[in-house]
């Protein structure tokens, strides 16, 4: 039992914590996924912005280059120099200007694009030609263009403008070398690592970069294993760190130059990772707190429940003494209080039931307890049995009270045993007698037979009772039993404050009268015709016809002798002779009646009944009855 409640607590714990983990976990997971997605998007967007800034930065540098070239293209002194057609002077003036604007290369190109003077190749123009750059410039409104191109395998950002003298008669080219300083400059503007690379047949070569040397090689190797990408954001792992990388071709058709902007993913995701750590901490703390709270609540519930269960076990075992102890001000405390009150009620009721069972027959006790406390009855066919001790009142006057009680209890015990054994109930004890009912509150089909058998059983038990009474030193008892079957009112009667289950009606009075008549005829049991006719298998002898108060028709009295199949020979002979004797008597054939009764008297020793009849015949002979006499006794004792 205890183990089960422990597991109930465990179940509550598991359920609540499981739910909490599930919900919190789902929240954490969705927040994590949303955050990661958002962080990742943020990183990508930031890189896009950076890429835009990078392109803007490149354009700005182009414009700077163009403007610096323009300075020279309209420089009058330089026009004069060019007009001299002196190559050395032209080259020198170019160098001068290059130094002035801090460019890495300057050139003068013929209209077709061949170099006339080139600061990278001092001797005779170097044979360099930039046709694509010139072609692009020719498409421009002011003849200006810029591009990133390789010069001697080194990438340069170049700008070209027309040279005016004042007609556009040549091209001025100016360029910055794209080196690490250039990359660092772009890094300052964009906040990302900048690497300029060239792709040749899927092999990547780094020209300049803000990355350390080892990472440059890793980047080139990493990109070389990737399929060619036009422009995209990709993750590139460099020495264990993931870098979000934006790979964009530079504005140089054919040269396969790319700018790679990179940002460490770990660095970019750092705020998100920090948030995730905080979330996990909050989640764990929440789980722990909930665990504690739920355990506390579960304890508060299961401990009193376990205490109540123990209390219930005690009650089951009949212990109504120890109350359950729950010191709580909540519903469980109220439940415990109710439980204790219930226990007290049960205890009182149990005592009451016990007492009732002793005071009344168990069936009556059940009947009383089974229904609401209300008055009322119903018509029932019952057989009522009255029994008492003959001459008990006069005996009480001279008997020792203590012994009297002992005698009484001996008799009543035998009485209730006989009644109980045959399914009747002792409705009440009345001094030296008792009133028993067969057929209420519990009915049987053979209630009259049960009643007669109970009466015979009591009759037959009397010698044993008398033996015990004799052992007490008292005189033996004589008893009278009256049995009558009739329709009566059965139910709870009295007042609401004090009621009992009983049967009332004329039939009850008849039974009582029969009991009283046993004394006159000297027989132990008298039953009515109604009862006799309902008890097959029992041998009877008719005793008399009597008038009862309130009844016109005479009532026939019968004495049960015993079961027909187990009747002693003497009784069998008596039963055979008796009807004839009675017939002679009622036919006023006195001589023959006397003869028959005397014969019966000899069979039955002693025979108060036949003595009574012989004496009665003597009286009737002395004072003959009227012609209408039907053999009944009374109204005047005849």
């Amino acid at each position: 039992m205890h183990l089960q409640f422990r597991s109930f607590r465990t179940r509550i714990l598991a359920l609540v914590v499981g739910l909490l983990v599930l919900v919190q976990g789902a929240v954490l997971l969705s927040v994590h996924v949303a955050n990661l997605g958002s962080a990742r998007r943020h990183v990508d967007e930031a890189l896009e912005l950076t890429a835009a800034a990078f392109r803007r930065s490149l354009r700005t540098r182009e414009e700077i280059l163009v403007e610096r070239a323009r300075l020279l293209s309209s420089d009058f002194a330089f026009k004069q120099v060019v007009a001299t057609d002196d190559r050395a002077t032209i080259l020198s003036a170019l160098e001068n200007h290059r130094a002035r604007v801090r460019a890495d290369v300057m050139m003068v190109l013929a209209p077709s694009g061949e170099a006339i003077a080139d600061t990278l190749h001092r001797e005779r123009g170097g044979g360099r030609s930039l046709p694509s750059l010139v072609e692009e410039a020719k498409q421009h409104e002011y003849g200006e263009a810029s591009a990133i191109q390789l010069l001697d395998r080194i990438p340069f950002q170049l700008a070209i403008v027309p040279f005016f003298d004042p007609e556009p008669s040549a091209w001025i080219v100016i360029g910055f070398r794209i080196d690490d300083a250039f990359a660092r400059l772009l890094q300052q503007e964009t906040g990302t690592h900048v690497t300029l690379m060239r792709r040749q047949h899927d092999a990547w070569e780094v020209y300049s970069s803000t990355l350390p040397e080892a990472l440059r090689r890793a980047l080139a190797a990493g990109l070389s294993t990737r399929p060619a990408a036009e422009r995209e954001i990709v993750d590139v792992a460099l020495s264990g760190d993931d870098y979000v990388s934006w790979i964009a071709p530079l504005d140089d058709p054919g040269a396969e130059l790319f700018a790679v902007l990179q940002r460490s993913l770990d660095e970019a995701l750092e705020p998100f990772l920090r948030l995730r750590t905080v979330l996990i901490l909050v989640f764990s703390a929440g789980i722990l707190l909930s665990l504690g709270a739920v355990a506390w609540i579960a304890n508060r519930v299961t401990r009193p429940v376990a205490e109540l269960a123990r209390g219930a076990l005690r009650i089951e075992g009949g212990n109504y003494v120890d109350p359950v102890r729950v010191d709580q001000d909540d519903e469980l405390g109220a439940l415990a209080a109710s439980f204790n009150a219930m226990m007290k009620g049960l205890k009182e009721r149990d005592q009451a039931r016990d007492l009732l069972g002793r005071v009344v027959a168990p069936q009556i006790a059940e009947e009383l307890l089974a229904r609401e406390i209300e008055l009322g009855g119903e018509e029932r066919q019952v057989t009522v049995l009255f029994a008492d001790i003959r001459g008990f009142t006069s005996r009480a006057e001279r008997e020792d009270p203590q012994r009297l009680v002992q005698i009484l209890n001996l008799f009543l015990t035998a009485l209730s045993t006989a009644i109980d054994r045959h399914g009747g109930v002792v409705e009440e004890y009345m001094g030296d007698g008792a009133k028993a009912i067969f057929g209420a509150p519990v009915g049987h089909a053979d209630d009259p037979l049960r009643a007669v058998r109970a009466a015979l059983a009591l009759r037959d038990a009397l010698p044993a009772v008398n033996a015990e009474i004799a052992a007490l030193g008292a005189e033996p008892l004589q008893i009278g039993i009256g049995v009558h079957s009739a329709e009566v009112i059965a139910g709870r009667m009295g007042s609401l404050s004090r009621l009992k289950y009983t049967v009332v009606g004329d039939g009850v009075n008849v039974a009582s009268r029969l009991e009283g008549l046993t004394r006159r005829y000297g027989v132990p049991v008298l039953v009515s015709r109604d009862t006799r006719e309902a008890t097959p298998g029992i041998a009877f002898r008719e005793i008399d016809l009597v008038s009862l108060r309130g009844r016109d028709a005479p009532v026939a009295l019968f004495e049960p002798l015993g079961p027909e199949d187990a009747l002693p020979d003497t009784l069998r002979r008596i039963a055979a002779l008796h009807p004839e004797a009675l017939e002679h008597f009622r036919a006023r054939r006195w001589e023959r009646a006397i003869g028959a009764f005397e014969e019966l008297s000899r069979l039955e020793q002693p025979s108060p009944l036949y003595a009574f009849y012989l004496e009665r015949i003597a009286r009737l002979r002395a004072d003959p009855p009227g012609t209408d006499w039907d053999g009944r006794f009374g109204p005047d004792p005849g």
Binding site: R70, S74, K79, Q80, A83, G143, F164, D165, P166, P168
Partner: protein, 229 residues
């Protein structure tokens, strides 16, 4: 004809130079009996303005007349006016500065290389253009200022108006007619056409040229004329 010539030569703010040109052209047509009505179109069929159409007699170099009168190229509102001037060899051109600021006129062209350093008003000496060919003029301190002088070997030439039309007064005979334009793609010789005029019948000639792109420096923004780029 006068009207069309006038139209062709009137440039924005350049009205006062018109009589000079008229004088020049009228002088050139006195002796001629036939007017060659030429029209120059570009590759897209659009009329070409400021093209010089000149005709050289097929029978040799014609004798030049008396020295041509002095020609003037003004500087007005930081622009040369007119943009294209055709003159016979030996013409003296004055470059009066009508602006309130100084200009520095120069040319590095092979036909005439010269320089008039920063000056105001009318320079004391005109510049004599004594070699045939094109001369590009610029101003040292205003990159966008540009004008052309076409120095012609023959006295028979005219500059097209905005309809691409030019009228040449030619004596009867055969001529080799060529076109020059600042944006001409190729050499003038490639545009050469032979025509024969005579019998007092007016002749018409359609000439087609290919133009190339010739860039010009941006003009410094001017509040006075924001339309100029």
């Amino acid at each position: 004809m006068h009207r069309s010539l006038r139209d062709s030569t009137i440039r924005r703010g350049a009205r006062r130079c018109v009589p000079t040109i008229l004088t020049l052209l009228v002088g050139a047509t006195v002796a001629s009996g036939v007017t060659l009505d030429a029209q120059v179109l570009d590759g897209e069929g659009e009329p070409v303005k400021d093209a010089v159409v000149y005709a050289a007699p097929l029978d040799g170099r014609p004798p030049l007349g008396e020295g041509p009168p002095a020609v003037v190229i003004d500087q007005v509102d930081k622009e040369f006016v007119p943009y294209v001037t055709a003159v016979p060899v030996g013409t003296r051109i004055r470059f009066p500065n009508r602006d309130q600021i100084r200009h520095h006129v120069y040319s590095f062209s092979k036909a005439k290389s010269f320089e008039i350093p920063l000056y105001k008003g009318v320079p004391p000496q005109p510049i004599r253009f004594d070699a045939a060919g094109e001369v590009a003029l610029g101003c040292n301190i205003h990159d966008w200022m540009r004008a052309y002088v076409f120095v012609s070997e023959t006295p028979y030439f005219a500059v097209t108006d905005e309809n691409g039309r030019a009228a040449l007064g030619l004596p009867d005979g055969g001529y080799r007619v060529e076109v020059w334009h600042p944006e001409l793609d190729g050499r003038p010789e490639d545009t050469a056409r032979e025509v024969h005029v005579g019998g007092g019948e007016p002749a018409a000639l359609h000439l087609s040229i290919e133009k190339r792109r010739v860039w010009r420096p941006r003009r410094a923004p001017s509040l006075a004329d924001p339309s100029y780029r």
